[in-house]
């Protein structure tokens, strides 16, 4: 004596969903919209954190200032060597700061800074050391300087003509830097202050390296820029965000819907049990219904979430979170048929016949 054929069980699952089309339609909508909304909101949230992190990084949140505790000089070569450390984006040490005047007609006062080559990128992100001086954006526009021009300055009793290697873009770190003239010098002698910029995400690691970098000299490592809201860093915001739970909450909502759908139709499953549907057959029926009402619309919802957020997924951290959300959601809803099986096999055929 044979029982329900597998294809018949699948057909029955489909026919039952069709017979309860209003309820099934609501379930499909929930199963599609819940992951769509959850993943989209999480992506937007993480993207916001990444943007804030970038903004703060542009303002210097990943820059450290290292100075000797007793105001002594730090070795410039050691500061310059920090540029080769993993996680360090750039590092440069200030070797001299002078107050000079331009030798042009207005005799404008200028701050003339000599520093190791890595400092340019710290003061003006994206700028690299060049032959000649780098002129801040304000000075450049006020004096009408361009790359290749010559800036004459009155230094002590002499007039020096400095070739302008580049005019920096306006600094995202401080408007004061737009008033600087920076000359890169080889790392020799001592430096008053070593500015070190870490790669995004490597801030803590770099800070730990800095604490012991200048061995033999007591140093103070301080954040160059403290965000005005303090409290939580963007990385903390991203890792502690409430939206990280949205995919699980969506999966929970869908699971509740599916379990309610099965509980409401408990007598139908009991009837199938009376008719000889085995436990394996019941599992197949529940998996088929789950695939139709939960997995398929959920996949469509997830695809829409990723599609509508495609522009935001160019950021690796956002793409990672999105992938994790998708995996979390799919993994969470995959247990629903097991829960349904546990819920429904409590009804015995005899109970069903007695209308219990």
């Amino acid at each position: 004596m044979s029982g329900f054929a597998r294809r018949v069980i699948v057909r029955e699952a489909y026919a039952n969903a069709l017979a309860h089309r209003a309820l099934a339609g609501i379930l499909v909508l929930i199963a599609a919209i819940a992951p769509l909304a959850a993943v989209t909101l999480d992506i937007v949230d993480v993207h916001g954190s990444v943007e804030r992190e970038r903004e703060l990084a542009a303002r210097g949140s990943t820059v450290f200032s290292v100075t000797a505790v007793d105001r002594q000089l730090l070795p410039a070569t050691r500061c310059d060597a920090l540029g080769t450390v993993t996680g360090v984006a750039s590092a440069g040490g200030i070797t001299a700061v002078e107050r000079v005047h331009s030798a042009l007609t207005d005799r404008r006062p200028l701050t003339f800074v000599s520093a190791t080559p890595g400092l340019a990128a710290v003061l003006w992100p994206g700028t690299t050391a060049v032959d000649g001086v780098i002129v801040g954006a304000s000075i450049g526009s006020q004096l009408g300087l361009v790359a290749g021009a010559v800036l004459p300055i009155a230094q002590a009793v002499a007039i020096r003509s400095l070739p302008v290697g580049a005019v920096a873009q306006p600094s995202t770190r401080s408007a004061d830097y737009d008033l600087l003239v920076l000359q890169s010098v080889p790392p020799r002698g001592g430096t008053y202050e070593c500015l070190v910029e870490s790669e995004p995400g490597a801030r803590a690691r770099v800070e730990a390296v800095l604490l012991g970098w200048f061995s033999g000299t007591a140093t103070a490592v301080t954040p160059y820029f403290v965000p005005p809201d303090t409290g939580r860093t963007p990385q903390q915001e991203a890792s502690e965000r409430t939206s990280a739970w949205f995919p699980l909450a969506a999966a929970g909502l869908v699971a509740l819907g599916m379990l309610a759908w099965w509980v409401i139709r408990r007598s139908e499953f009991a009837l199938y049990g009376v008719m000889g549907l085995s436990r394996d057959g019941l599992v197949l029926m529940l998996v088929t219904e789950w695939a139709m009402l939960c997995l398929l619309p959920g996949s469509i919802g997830l695809a829409n979430a990723l599609g509508s957020s495609a522009a935001l997924l160019d950021d690796a951290p956002v793409a990672q979170v999105a992938a994790l959300d998708v995996v979390r959601y799919l993994a969470s809803i995959s247990v629903i048929p097991l829960l349904g099986t546990a819920l429904l096999t409590r009804v015995t055929a005899f109970e069903a016949l007695k209308g219990k």
């Binding site: 039952n16 017979a19 139908e268 009376v274 209308g355």
Partner: protein
Amino acid sequence: MRVSVRGVSVSWSGRRVLDDVSAEFDGPARISIMGPSGAGKSTLLAVIAGQLRPDAGSVEVEDGERPEWVVQSSPLLARRSALDNAMLGPLARGRSVLRSRVAATRVLTDLGLGPLVRGPAYELSGGERQRVAVARALAADARLVLADEPTASLDHAAKRSVIAALERASAYGALLLVATHDDEVAAVCDRRFRLVDGRLVEEDRS
């Protein structure tokens, strides 16, 4: 089809419901088991169906045939059609969808339910639901049909239609064992038994 019940005893909460019950049921035939509520009719059917293990004795069903059930307020797939419900019987026995559809349509028509095959089961009356349950059993070519109070809670007209459907069981080659306290149901049966103090006694039809 033969069902052999040998020395079956079942107790519920210390009360002996079935006491050394023995009988031989041969089909196709209609056999009634009568008795008041609590006499043990349903218990005997459950033992025959293999859903209840007796305290003593044994039941042998020829070829291990799985019975089909018709019970009071038979469960149906409420939102599926009468045809879909009747098809469940043959589908549950591994028949193809086409063969099940043909068999179910034939039996439903035979039982006077032809015009109702497409409508959802929740629109059927109590008597019609019971007849669909009978059709589900007969469409499966079941050789053993167990009916537990199939006419309870039905008005007279509905009861008559269900009895007429049950009468058709033997025409389909089934052995029908019907537990009932309704004399009208028993009247259409070939053999009549009564449970008295847990013992099964066959009544003389004369």
